[in-house]
Amino acid sequence: MSTVILASLALMSLALCLAFVRLYRGPSLPDRVVALELFSSMIVGIIGVVAIATDVPSLLDVAIVMALMAFMAAIGFARFLERGGPRDD
């Protein structure tokens, strides 16, 4: 079981690095917002795996809060972008 957990954590860390590449390169601001959104989904997954590895069920509350914050942040970013009008970055 610990090999599976290690492998999945390694895979998700690699995925975080890839998402960070897009966050750094992203030609426009919406691309970066999408990368941040993916970050939060992956962090929810990582928290789930860590909860299994350490046998601490309270970590699930952290995952719930993380998902909630990500949703709020996405809505806020979208409002901010739309209010700004067309942009060229």
Binding site: A15, A19, L60, F71, F77, A78
Partner: protein, 134 residues
Amino acid sequence: MIEMFKAGLILTGALFMFLAALGLVRLPDLLTRMHATTKAATLGASLIMLAVALHFGEVAVVARALGVILFIMMTAPVAAHVIGRAGYFVGAKLWHGTIKDELRPNYDPLTHELKSGLETDANAVHHPRESDPK
């Protein structure tokens, strides 16, 4: 048996997350990138939460894990819709191989006015009803 099922769920979930990140890096424009990330990452997080529910097997934890799944499944499409809409309004460039953009001819970015495509003279005639206020 449950151990193997759990390991399979965790590994598939992690794999789907990795595929989402790969699509985010490799695909050419905003909408295709969102197409990769929203669905695959939602499925990955849901599978891992299912594994958590299997691992603990208590009512409180299973309820919370299912709550996370339900919340992610309900909010991910809304967030993706909002970001995609904002991206289109902001003027994110589409991929050069895009075949059809049906919003382009029908939508005026300055006035935010959207045509239905059915604007003929016959449709434009106003038919007053009995219940209309005078």
